[in-house]
Symmetry: C2
Subunit: 660 residues, 2 copies
């Protein structure tokens, strides 16, 4: 082991294992997660060449091979708990998406939840056994967020009892679904249903797209891969153009809405039935933000502990770059953020299960808040993590640009979370809609409950000019006081957005115009609300920590997280009268002190995330700190080094010499 | 042409051609640039498959082919003006780096500037004729920014009159130089010179690394490609390990320092002689920031004009996404920034040439300021552009992730500018060192000149408690007043950094520790200084614009740039007493008005950047706005679509079915 990184571990003030257990949700969960990881990492069937050295077609090939093995083995081992399946899958694909993701995560669940009993009989077992491999084809080339705008049509023909599916325009071509390009032989196609001359809106149709025997596209089906992307090399995101493709009436998913043989349409009992999946996936993405950022911090902080550069004191050896204040200021707030997001992810998961339980009991009352919370926090955490990964990468100097650092891969794998499952700005505006509705209810005298209950409090309906006369409430050394400050800031920005919207309503042609003309303020209010929730949940988590040493280091991180956010948004806090100018200078100084406090524990804090080297796959982030040796070994295996002389030398450069 | 984008152009209030001429530096320059671009774009020798569909080895191959052609043709056409060579090269490689960059940009110039006459005779013509292909090998695996830490040694052996070159440790392996891996047969190696038992520090040695006939590595030379990176697929960044490699005494570059045959060392007359190149490259990077950001804005704004999504008003057609206030708020400040950086780039280029002229007259007085300015502005503009490219990409929704948008390529090609030619944080600290020195001089009564002259003004040495009593100076509708506000903010932050450093000096073990413990404040001061310079230069540019319509639209952009910066850093302006809380609300409103003012000119403003479709290579950013058709055509050509059925289906998925 590199002596620098060994010394870092010796100097830590707490036992990382205890913190690992906290992150996993208990020692037993840590044990079981490690057991599953060992199953994969020790398995010769999952060994393969470094993906960075392969072409895209080879990467897709390797991913299909591993996915096929994975399905066999998960069933062989009898792993059935969803969290354990997730752990196994993440380990097989090292956190990357894979070609069967949509089959396993969308096609099978949608069949289960939206099929009639007859459809379940017909489709589920073939799909379970991968004779049917399916995907979920919703997004079109010209239509994403606004699903009512989708153009694909399914027109019922009672004479043959079939639906005729069409892509009437180029913008209606299905575009982006994972596994659609090459892997799937079926797709659940979202299309506008027409029957008896009337459009009944979007419905889902099980559509065969490739021959079950030859895997060739069926007549009328134009299907393929949408081409290379920023990352996601293992996935065949695809396009699908349907030209008078006929499918039996029985292929419309008919658990709720129905089309009778004669073409009469039967409405579904409720239109909120697919709400849950979306909320679930968005809640999961919060956890992804935590993981992507904690991996990046692990790599950057370990590397900063073994990298030496420049001189702090003349004549002395080059210091570890982790000793530079600017390096600490880049990385430690992100480390604190990674912890914050882990705890928010745990909360979201718990809340989702609680509210799902309520819904199963017929109580839907928690759904709007969960929906608003998952939308906003999905956007808030992915934006922060997205930018944070790049800060980590660039904090590693030149080597952060090498694929051997793994940081470029973490970024390109993660960044789509800002767009998929609800574009982030749209998500923020959905949360804003909930906040404004709640604000109005509070003003109308209703007593709000849950996370927005702060909008009840009369002092939060601040009058612009009364602020400065209110005594400053913030104690910058007290986390509880900072949570209050974040709360008031959120309340203030919600109120400002509401008032601006009110003014716009008086001038605008329509409610929609007024909303659009206030949307900068609305996004800002949502952002402040989410920030408050994160600080609050981080603070709340501290009370669950029994170990004194762990409690102490997490408290320091939480304070750093809160104060760093205040410093970054100091204008808001000054504007709301929550801070004074002299306090800002105190915060700057306090932040520096906190960086120094965290410094000796930084490596132990990333060790506690407990990513095995095989999971990180980063020469810079190795546990043993032996960075340079492994970079050199990796580089030697690069495809350009398979021959000493590249053929381009003989083809172009030699001949050039004689012409000059 | 897409009717939406045609309408945008019809509604513009100014003639983009006039603005294009302003950006190029005159109508004649625009004409000549276009002439050169046409030479390349019409040339069948430069046609090739979309690079996104090729493997890295194929991309390298294609780049070598084009570079060889390029050299032939530039000489054939007699293009000799550096700007014109740059334009031709950019067009051939579409802004991407290429394998001969280091040969042309570093090896040949270093030979010219640092060779003795005898060395010029021996090496220059073979290098000019590409018999010698060279690179510049400075960075080592363990050493980047701090070049004194480089470990490679060159030990003089008087018995054979040779230098013996060695890489004594793994961290001393040369790492990163472009063209080193496969292309070059020589390298200028930076090494610690040892002669007569003494180390004389870094010197440059022309080192043959591959056989001129067979191109095989020479004995003792371990050379290869460092492996795949985040972008830069066309370049063979390489490693070089030297094991007792002997080169003649005549291969040390001896224009200045010398080693005599007996081993006596002759000092160079000055140690500032390589200063200029570094400053020149950093100044050029400011222009790169402008180009990368303006390309990204062109793509995102054109796409936003043809993309329709959601509904603003019920029942009406989906609006152009450029009509959403949140979309405008993402893109228009970046558009303004791209213009600002173009003008700063022009200024840097002019200043560089002016000061180079002075230096040739023996006047070195302008160098420290230029050095500080180029360091800070390199960091400031690359950080902003780097984040801005990603905002542009994500503003295009899902399609921004497709390689056909070109946005991922713009990002990965640009992002290394944050690290190479001086890591950005280090650059900011170099500028801070100049600012603090200037501040001290001003306090000591010296009269400062140039860009830091604001540190002279007594009112900028603000007393913390006197601020609030000073009347607010800012008129938020007046650009000149905002320039003043930025100036005061910079002065305030320089003073705060100086005071904090003073306090640290009283507590720290050494000056270096005090500097490190103040470095967050120092970076902040540099950042504010650079921000001031950019706003000031943008404002100054307006006075050169004769055309009323162009003047008007650029003034709006300049105001947007300035106010957006105030809003983002409102804490600083409030803290310095330059703004009041009510003014902040006015700024929010004014920003919205400015977005509306810019909206009708947005497409014309990106048209004025005048990127031909062949240069942008983006399906989303096409001039004609026919986005979807071209995405579909592009996707069909993707390598995964070369066969209807991917072989992995038969290899893994078919066999799996029988096992389940």
């Amino acid at each position: 082991m590199n002596p620098d990184i060994r010394r870092e571990r010796e100097n830590a003030s707490f036992n990382p294992e205890i913190l690992t257990n906290t992150l996993d949700g208990g020692a037993e969960k840590t044990r079981r997660r490690r057991e599953i990881e060992s199953l994969v990492i020790g398995d010769p069937d999952f060994q393969h060449e470094d993906l960075n050295f392969l072409s895209r077609s080879e990467r897709y090939d390797a991913a299909v091979q591993k996915s096929a093995q994975m399905i066999l083995k998960i069933r062989e081992y009898g792993i059935s708990d969803p969290e354990e399946i997730y752990a196994y899958k993440s380990c097989v694909h090292r956190g990357r998406p894979e070609p069967l993701d949509l089959h396993l995560g969308m096609f099978l669940p949608t069949l289960l939840n939206q099929s009639s009993p007859a459809q379940l009989d017909a489709f589920f077992m073939p799909a379970w056994n991968l004779e049917i491999i399916g995907t979920y084809a919703q997004t079109e080339m010209g239509h994403g967020t606004h699903i009512r705008g989708l153009e694909t049509t399914a027109t019922y023909d009672p004479s043959t009892q079939e639906f005729v599916l069409n892509s009437p325009t180029i913008s209606s071509i299905k575009w982006w679904p994972g596994g659609l390009g090459k892997t799937s032989n079926h797709a659940i196609v979202l299309a506008q249903l027409y029957t008896q001359g009337k459009c009944h809106g979007l419905h889902a149709f099980i559509t065969p797209i490739r021959c079950m025997k030859t895997h060739m596209p069926l007549p009328g089906v134009v299907v393929g891969d949408i081409g290379p992307k920023f990352g996601f090399d293992e996935v065949d995101n695809g396009y699908l153009k349907l030209e008078n493709v006929r499918i039996p009436r029985e292929n419309m998913l008919m658990k709720y809405a129905k089309v009778e043989p004669d073409g009469s349409y039967v409405k579904p009992p409720s239109d909120k039935l697919t709400y849950g999946t979306m909320v679930f996936i968005r809640s999961m993405i919060v956890g992804e933000s935590a993981r992507a950022l904690s991996k990046s911090c692990t790599i950057a902080i370990r590397y900063s502990a073994v990298r030496h550069q420049s001189e702090l004191r003349q004549g002395e050896p080059e210091p570890q770059i982790l000793d530079y204040q600017t390096q600490q200021y880049k990385l430690f707030p992100l480390l604190a953020t990674a912890y914050a997001f882990h705890f928010v992810g745990q909360y979201m998961s718990k809340t989702y299960h609680r509210i799902t339980g309520d819904i199963n009991q017929g109580d839907f009352s928690g759904l709007p808040e969960l929906h608003a919370l998952s939308a906003g926090l999905k956007a808030f955490t992915t934006w922060v993590a997205n930018a944070g990964i790049e800060v980590c990468r660039m904090s590693c100097g030149g080597h952060g640009y090498s694929r051997c650092s793994s940081l470029p891969d973490i970024y390109v794998t993660f960044t789509p979370t800002c767009t998929y499952e609800g574009e982030n700005t749209v998500m923020m505006l959905q949360t804003a809609r909930f906040l404004l509705k709640s604000y109005k209810q509070a003003r109308a005298g209703q007593q709000l409950t849950g996370i927005v209950s702060y909008l009840n409090e009369p002092q939060t309906r601040i009058q612009p000019h009364s602020v400065s006369s209110r005594p400053t409430v913030v104690n910058i050394n007290d986390l509880a006081s900072l949570v209050e400050a974040y709360k008031y800031r959120a309340a203030k920005l919600v109120e400002m957005a509401a008032k601006n919207l009110q003014v716009e309503l008086q001038h605008s042609k329509s409610n929609e115009d007024a909303w659009n003309n206030s949307s900068i303020d609305l996004v800002r209010a949502s952002d402040a609300h989410c920030h408050y929730v994160v600080v609050k949940l981080f603070a709340a988590k501290l009370s669950e920590i029994g170990d004194t040493a762990v409690h102490s280091v997490l408290s320091t991180l939480a304070l750093l997280y809160a104060l760093h956010g205040v410093a970054l948004n100091s204008g808001d806090f000054l504007q709301a009268g929550l801070l004074t100018v002299p306090q800002l200078a105190q915060i700057s100084q306090r932040l520096k002190d906190l960086l120094s406090e965290i410094r000796p524990n930084a490596v132990a804090l990333v060790d506690a995330f407990d990513y095995r080297d095989e999971m990180l796959n980063s020469a810079l982030g190795r546990y043993d700190g032996n960075v340079y040796e492994h970079m050199f070994e990796w580089a030697k295996r690069s495809p350009l080094n398979h021959t000493e002389v590249h053929e381009s030398h003989h083809k172009y450069l030699k001949p050039l010499q004689s012409k000059l």
